[in-house]
Structure formats: structure tokens, C-alpha cells
């Protein structure tokens, strides 16, 4: 029997090979056949979850409630010290210097990344902006978000902070950050489904000791992680409650 592993579609393109390397490592360590399935879009991934095809997922926090409450998934671990934060930018020559300078009707470039979009929209609220009075422009990647702001096709861009920080210095110099979230407690997490949950403790133990051997450390490097840390049930419930408060 083969288990299916999948990654939130907002993964950094630089780390695609890293996830395949991680999956190979995980199969060797657990002795289980695990197939890594990459989905291009959140909708396709959610459909697979709905059909109980997914057994292990590095999940976006936005999907955590559905995974835990509707599908019986359990949290395993998160990347050490990692947190999802969002950034709202305009082009450097835009006269806005504060969120409250933005007016209804602005064109806002985003990706499909649901937690970042939600955090970005919350940061627009002080200017009385909401989905009903702005024009949302959805892009496939953060590079396209930057491009649209630089070309004047969008007035505002909402980025995952990590993706913004990874943009080239030249691009960043042409963009102006209006606000960067400092939420700290919203993060992606590795979560395990009911059919595979017998392996939860074993996988957690393997992840927590990855830094201790050369091979494991190399795998972590390819993922861009410093290590893994445990996420227990209550940590996950707290994050789900927090996401609930932000979604309304």
C-alpha cells in the first residue's frame, strides 16, 4: 500500500526538488511507500483531500481547520521558528506612505495563497478597504504580483513576507512596503491523516532528530529549513481558533 504526501501549493519554487529529496528520505526512514503528489492549485488539492486521497500534508494554515475538524488529521511538526507573515506594498513612486492613504477602487494584486491573502486584507481594513470596494487581481506567483505593481497594472501587492524578501534587490528597491505583519503564530504544518496516523510518533521522532545526522541535515538544507519542531494538538487548536477570528 502506498500513502500520498502533498505540499501546500504555495511552496517556494526554489524548494520543489527539496520536497522530493525529503520524501525519498522519509520513505527510507519509515520503510513505507509514500508517493509525493504536487498540486498546482489549492482547489485541486482540496478536492483530493475531500476524496480521502491524502495521508500526509505540509498544509497551509488556512486549510488546517478543515483537515482537523472534517478529515481527522493530526498535527505533527512545523519548520523551526517559521511563521507566515504578509507584506503590503505599492510601487516606490506611489504617493501613499501609510495604509490609510489607500482609497476604495485600488487594484490589489495577490496570489491564491489563502492565509497571506487573509492577512493582507486584514491589514487593508484600517483604510476601510474590503473585498467589496477593491479590485482583486489573482496571480499564479509572487513574481507576477511584483511585476503587476511595477508595471502599474496593480496599485497594491500582497506578498508572503518570505517571497518578498526573496525578490531581487533591484525589484525590491522599486517597491515600497506599507506594512509588514508581525503575527508570529500562523504557520504551515506537517499533518497526518487517519490512515497513516499510527506513524505519527515515529515520524515526529525522525523529524526532531534530523539535524543530528549528516544526511538529515542535508535534506533540511534542501528544504530551506533549520529543523522541525513538534506541533501538539492544543497548539493546532489555538492556531485554528485564531484563524477563525481572522476569517470574520
Amino acid at each position: 500500500m502506498s500513502y500520498q504526501f502533498t505540499i501546500s501549493p504555495d511552496f517556494s519554487p526554489d524548494h520543489i526538488s527539496g520536497w522530493y529529496i525529503f520524501n525519498t528520505w522519509l520513505q527510507k526512514q519509515t520503510g513505507e511507500a509514500i508517493h509525493l503528489e504536487m498540486y498546482d492549485h489549492f482547489q485541486a488539492q482540496r478536492e483530493a483531500i475531500k476524496q480521502d486521497k491524502v495521508d500526509l500534508i505540509y498544509a497551509n494554515p488556512f486549510d488546517a481547520a478543515m483537515l482537523v475538524r472534517e478529515k481527522g488529521f493530526l498535527p505533527v511538526a512545523k519548520a523551526t521558528g517559521a511563521a507566515d507573515e504578509a507584506i503590503v506594498v505599492v510601487s516606490a513612486d506611489n504617493s501613499a506612505i501609510d495604509i490609510v492613504d489607500l482609497k476604495p477602487g485600488v487594484r490589489v494584486a495577490v496570489t491564491e495563497d489563502p492565509d497571506v491573502r487573509m492577512m493582507g486584507m486584514i491589514m487593508l481594513e484600517p483604510a476601510d478597504l474590503n473585498a467589496g470596494n477593491i479590485e482583486l487581481m489573482t496571480n499564479d506567483t509572487y513574481v507576477l504580483v511584483a511585476k503587476h505593481v511595477l508595471q502599474g497594472k496593480a496599485d497594491v501587492g500582497i506578498f508572503l513576507a518570505e517571497a518578498f524578501d526573496d525578490l531581487s534587490g533591484i525589484i525590491k528597491s522599486k517597491l515600497k512596503v506599507l506594512v509588514r505583519s508581525q503575527i508570529s503564530v500562523i504557520h504551515h504544518a506537517l499533518m497526518i491523516g487517519p490512515n497513516f496516523s499510527g506513524k505519527r510518533a515515529e515520524i515526529l521522532g525522525l523529524l526532531e532528530t534530523m539535524t543530528q545526522d549528516e544526511k538529515g541535515a542535508g535534506v533540511l538544507k534542501s528544504l530551506g529549513f533549520d529543523g522541525w519542531e513538534k506541533v501538539d494538538d492544543e497548539d493546532m487548536e489555538f492556531m485554528i481558533d485564531l484563524m477563525d477570528t481572522l476569517a470574520i
Binding site: E125, P126, S181, E237, D241, T245, L246
Partner: protein, 154 residues
Amino acid sequence: MKPEDIVGEYQEKTLDLYGGYRRVVLYTDIETPYPDGKLIVSTTDKEGIITHVNKSFIEMSGYSEEELIGTPHSILRHPFMPSVAFKDLWDTVNRGEHWQGYVKNLRKDGGYYWVKATVIPNIRQGKVVSYTSVRRKPSRTKVEECMKLYPTLM
């Protein structure tokens, strides 16, 4: 509240709080702007006693974590806020529903800050075990509406 903690000229008022408590508060006209990009998070038990606060809560309230944990959440209650708002909050969350509203909070130094607050019941194994409140930066337009509305609800 202690006069030596207050910054600036202050007024005094006795509040009748939810649960039959009374508290003398000292308050000034000094506003601390809500910081961009931050969330203030706290958790209380079912009786409204604070069990968890994040760093932003400590920074904005002016109290230390030790002063906050174990204290009723009404430590932040500002005399400008109508009691009816908090009755609505408790009635709503006790029904297991989310509550959202704009709140003027009182700082330890007598100043204040406005927030957009969302309170949800934390449900574990089908039972409400605690409440989490998350505050974010409010729109100034909404705050100005509340500044006109709340005095009419006193």
C-alpha cells in the same frame, strides 16, 4: 489603578463590572495608536480570567504578564464603553457564537487605544473551555462612528 502609574492629567470613575465587581479607574485623554501589522491576542477562562496574553497585549496594555495572568479581562475596561456592549459580548459567546465589535481599551497609564475585537469560544470535545480574543487595527471611520454611538448607549 495607582495614581503614580498615570501619565498626564486624569479623571476618576467607579465602574460596575460584569459579575458584580466594582473598580475605580483613572483615565486620561492620551491615545496610543494601534501598531500596524500586529494582533493583540489573549485567552480567558469561562469566568473571564486571563490565562494567556501575547507580547502585543503586554505592550499595548502597559501591564506586565505577571500583572495580567489571573486577572479579570475587565482590567482593560474604559469608562467610555457602555455596559451593554459587554453584555452583548458575553451573551453572544455564551451561545457559542463569535462576537465582533470596536472597543476602547484602558491602559495601565490611564491612556487608551481603540481595537477591532473578535471573541470566540474555544470548543474542545464539544464543550466551551475558554475564550480567545483577537484585536486588530480598526478603521478610523468605524472608531469615529463608535465615538458618536457609545455615549447614546450609556
